[in-house]
Assembly symmetry: C2
Homo-oligomer: 433 residues x 2
Amino acid sequence: MTDARSVPPLDAGAETPGAAALPAAFARLADIGHSPGDGVMRLTASATDGAARRALAAWMEGAGARMAHDGIGNQFACFDWAGAGAPWVLAGSHLDAQPNGGRFDGVLGVVAAGCAALTLAAERAAGRLAPRANLAVVNWTNEEGARFQPSLIGSTVFAGALPLAAGLACRDRNGVSLGEALRTIGYGSPAGVVPPHPRAYVELHVEQGRRLEATAGSIGAVEGTWAARKMQVSWEGRAAHTGPTPMAERRDALLAAARAIAGFEDAVARSWPELHRSAARLEVEPNSPNVVVRRATVWFELRHPDRARLIAAGDAVREVFEQAASATGTRLEIASDATRAAASMDAGLVARVEATARACGLLPLRMASVAGHDAVALQNAGIPSALVLVASTGGIAHHPDEFTAPADMQAGLAVLTALLRGLITDAAGPGRA
Amino acid sequence: MTDARSVPPLDAGAETPGAAALPAAFARLADIGHSPGDGVMRLTASATDGAARRALAAWMEGAGARMAHDGIGNQFACFDWAGAGAPWVLAGSHLDAQPNGGRFDGVLGVVAAGCAALTLAAERAAGRLAPRANLAVVNWTNEEGARFQPSLIGSTVFAGALPLAAGLACRDRNGVSLGEALRTIGYGSPAGVVPPHPRAYVELHVEQGRRLEATAGSIGAVEGTWAARKMQVSWEGRAAHTGPTPMAERRDALLAAARAIAGFEDAVARSWPELHRSAARLEVEPNSPNVVVRRATVWFELRHPDRARLIAAGDAVREVFEQAASATGTRLEIASDATRAAASMDAGLVARVEATARACGLLPLRMASVAGHDAVALQNAGIPSALVLVASTGGIAHHPDEFTAPADMQAGLAVLTALLRGLITDAAGPGRA
């Protein structure tokens, strides 16, 4: 295998084609769906997502890639450099965004993978690179879980951990399925030959925390992620006029949800203050000022590295949910209660990220990711995966103020390019640090 | 004036044209926008509202009416029986409905007014009625306040208590103004000559309570309505990733709203348990499971006959709202805080409703209405108005199970017809019981 230390050090003066292309390519994709306050509105399978996909395809086809997509709409820019029987290396992230979300989350990983491919293609054309594996730049469908729940649908289906039909059947709040939505943007049926399970997947992402920002010249090598417990909980009451209906006869589902959200926070803060926790989506029916709420549904999350604490805290909050139901005469329904295990990323790739970062003149920091990412979904399904993080100002995420400095983006691209150079020229797959 | 006691007693055997028409006319209008569980989905200025308006117009034109509508879309079926200079009497209610609301609320008042007009037209054609006032059947725009807030927009604009431009500028949750929505159904510009302020307005409505149901053969003569205090309150936090963002840095607007909704109920139940109270609409932004809620807006209501208690309780809950903001690091915004005074209906008309009901063989019960109605908006603006109630099974309102028995509908129609007969043949307006 290529020794990471043999990678040329990062030299901002001697730009590679990928480094030169990065600013404009990033701006072009990140700006599709620009929303107030420098954010983006690019929900999965929306018109803006379709526009971003077409822009990615046009750019990659211009670089010599063969585009393909699978049944869940994952988009692959394939560089068949090593022939049909050769193994594959994948790199990318996602182009969907949170509502009025940040410009860097996801887009950076896709654009950087594309830029890395430009550089590697140039090296190959110049006879300086002889790939033993094919490379594909990938855009995973619905990473964010904003329009469709759960998150990470595209990568999880690709990895085989979620049936395609189940992914396509997920519905947004208007009842539109992911399958229907993908059809509206021209990604409803698979097209082209999609790469098989790769020997490795590499994802560059913004940190969503402040550790890298505090250490100049650092780069994150994610060792693992926190566990998460996510619950979708409804209270079913009864619609009634908010005026004349006697108070004793009301069964108010919004009051139940409010008591549950406050009680959830109080119970967890009291006994497990170290857990990250949220209730961030609430659907109310009929949501008219003059009708007692018939049904309220809340999406709760608990996150911590220690799964046992999620079990204990989650079981305690289920009692809070019951109390909210009995206090309001509503009926509790827990539609889903799923715990995602803490993940360990591929140890060989973590070491390789560290070595590559050092070779690029950067300081690698081993760290955990609180959030889920496509790399985690693939790793959990047995595909050796690496998650490389770059600094994000203030750790701001899922907000229009999200920002990563150009120099940090270039540092991340340099590491990604060097990693991919090694992975596609290795005689065997990763796992040997 | 016509003595109400001279009205022929109700005889179900000898049907008038209006009584004969009632079942089919009611079914035809009430079924437009039929929704699950025998409810209706007919929000203001939706396609179904447009269909209901067209059905009303076709029916009334068939009965000889001249249709007109004003700038806010109030629809008038005008019977110009007494000439251009004569006074007017109006009768009606509204065809808009709550989301998946009941079939009777509003529709009964419009259809019964139309049926009463059929009967009076037949009497006039037969030379048995010589009207001194013109009659119009009216369908008021956006009574419910479901799609557009506030409620009672059409009648309030007609009465002169809300400027037309302000009514048209009200926006639904998608940002569509009432003016724009009315244009989409063909009611964006006034058409025809609309009646001036009438000498009297009469509205038949279902009770939304159980008092009439408990006394067979009774009919409600509304003396007044409760006061109401309505507040639209927002908490402004900050969007952030629900995963990695440290708990101490979160400013969660949904947590603030939840604490406020629970605290509102607790504070009012403790000190003013006699108040009717609700929080029934909640808007959450961005409402994605993985983004800490940036902004939450809640519509609160307090109702009681005694305005002083609404003042005291409302001021106390404003402190609750402040506490919810400070506990969550969010910023409180009270967009509106409006108190609607308790209304007294026209005393002469109340007495006339009583006398008319007795003449029809029914037992009139004086009562208060908790809910607002178009008749209240007109009365408050100086137009003598009567609100006549018929029994509603179980007092169910704003729910698909809302039900009024055919016999009760006919009893209400008989009283309405007799009332209108008197009002259009009187030498002067009401007010002389």
